[in-house]
Symmetry: C2
Subunit: 220 residues, 2 copies
C-alpha cells in the first residue's frame, strides 16, 4: 500500500511558558519539527509528508525553512481549533487504500523501528498505535481518594498511529466529540478496532522545558 | 517531628544490560546513588540517612566512597530479596513519632520542593507519596483488546513516600504479599490511608540506558 505521513504541529505552545510554539523551539540548533520531519523523510524519501500548522505560523515556518536551508519537500495544511480538526484538514484528498501515519510534530525521537512496526502492522490490521508500558506504580483517583491500579494493565500511547486511509477518513468524518482525545478514540467511535504495537522509550512528546533538555541529550 | 531518610538501593540492575547495579553507574562523574544521597543531605544536613544495599555490594560501595572522597555520614543496612524486605531491614530501631522518607536510590533528580512537600504533608496526614499526572493518552488492556482510559484519573507514583514511623513499622510487620509493589500498597494493607502530593517531573527512576542519558542532561 502507498504510504503518506501527516505531521500535526498546530499547537500553540502555551504550556512551555514561551511565545514560540514548542514545535519551533531549537534542539541542538534545529527546530524540533525539522528533526521530526527528517526522521520520516529518511525512513522513506519517496513518501509524501504533509505538515499541519496554524495559519498564523505558516510565514514563520517558511522563514525557519529558509534560515536552516531546510529543503525536504513537504506540503503544508492549515490547522483547526482542535487536533481533530487539524488531522481532518490534513486528510483532504488522500485516496482510499493508502496507509496514513499521523504523528505529533513534537515527537522528534520516534525510532525508525517504531515507524516500521506501525506501517507493517497497520497494513494487515487496519489501525495500529505504538505504546509503551508504565514504569511507575499507578494510582487511580476516586473522588477524594486514590487506589492502587495494576500498572501491568496500562499502556501509554505514542505516535505515529498508522491507519488505512479509508478507515481514518471515515472516522474523521464523524461529528466532533470531546471524548476524541487522540486518533484511537476517533477510530473506535467509528466502530473499528485499535491494535497496539511497541513504541520506543525515547519517543517522548515535548511539552515542557524539561522535555526539551531531554530531547537535546537524546538527539546528540 | 524528627526526620530520617531511608534510601533503598538493593536492586541488581539486570535491566540495564550491565553488570554494575544501576545505582552505582556514573552520571556526570559521580555514581547515581551519591547524587541521590547529596540531595537529601543538603536538604537537611542534620537528618540521619540510612542506605540499604545488597550485602554483596557493600564492599564495592565503600570502594566508591573512597574513590570519590564521599564523606556524607550515612549508615548502611543489608537489603533483602524483595524491596519489602529491604525497607523492613532499614526500619530497624527507628522510634515511633518520627517521620521516615523512603526513597529509591535511582531517583537522583528529586527536587528539594518535592522532599519538603512530602515531609510537611506527612507530618499532618501520616502517609504521603509524591505523584505526577500522565501526559500521554492511556490504554487499559482487557484480555486481547484494549480500551481508552481517562488519563486525568491516573497518577504515576514517585518517591520519597514520607510516613509516620509508627504507621510504616506496623505496615512492614505484615506478612509479605505479592501485591506489595510499593510503600503505598503496604501501608494500605495495614489499614491506613495514602495521601498524594505533587512530585516533580524530572524525578525519574533510572532503569534503562536512556534514563541514564536523561539524568546526565538534567543534572548538569
Amino acid at each position: 500500500m502507498k504510504k503518506i505521513t501527516l505531521i500535526v504541529a498546530a499547537g500553540t505552545g502555551i504550556r512551555m511558558g514561551s511565545s514560540v510554539p514548542k514545535q519551533f523551539l531549537p534542539v541542538n540548533g534545529l527546530p524540533v519539527l525539522m528533526h521530526t520531519i527528517r526522521i520520516f523523510h529518511f525512513y522513506d524519501p519517496s513518501m509524501e509528508i504533509r505538515l499541519v500548522l496554524q495559519e498564523s505560523e505558516i510565514a514563520n515556518w517558511e522563514k525557519l525553512c529558509a534560515e536552516h536551508q531546510f529543503d525536504i519537500n513537504i506540503s503544508v495544511y492549515k490547522g483547526g481549533d482542535t487536533r481533530f480538526q487539524s488531522v481532518k484538514n490534513g486528510l483532504s484528498g488522500i485516496p482510499d487504500q493508502w496507509l496514513v501515519a499521523v504523528h505529533d510534530g513534537v515527537r522528534p525521537l520516534v525510532s525508525r523501528e517504531t515507524i516500521r512496526r506501525c506501517f507493517e502492522n497497520a497494513e494487515q490490521l487496519g489501525a495500529v498505535i505504538p505504546v509503551t508500558g508504565v514504569k511507575e506504580s499507578v494510582r487511580l483517583i476516586n473522588g477524594e481518594d486514590s487506589v492502587a491500579a495494576d500498572r501491568s494493565l496500562y499502556r501509554l500511547v505514542q505516535t505515529p498511529g498508522v491507519f488505512h486511509s479509508g478507515i481514518l477518513k471515515e472516522a474523521y468524518n464523524l461529528e466532533y466529540n470531546e471524548s476524541f482525545t487522540d486518533d484511537a478514540t476517533v477510530i473506535e467511535a467509528a466502530g473499528y478496532k485499535i491494535f497496539l504495537t511497541e513504541g520506543n522509550e525515547e519517543n517522548i512528546k515535548i511539552t515542557s522545558p524539561v522535555d526539551l533538555l531531554i530531547a537535546e541529550a537524546l538527539l546528540k
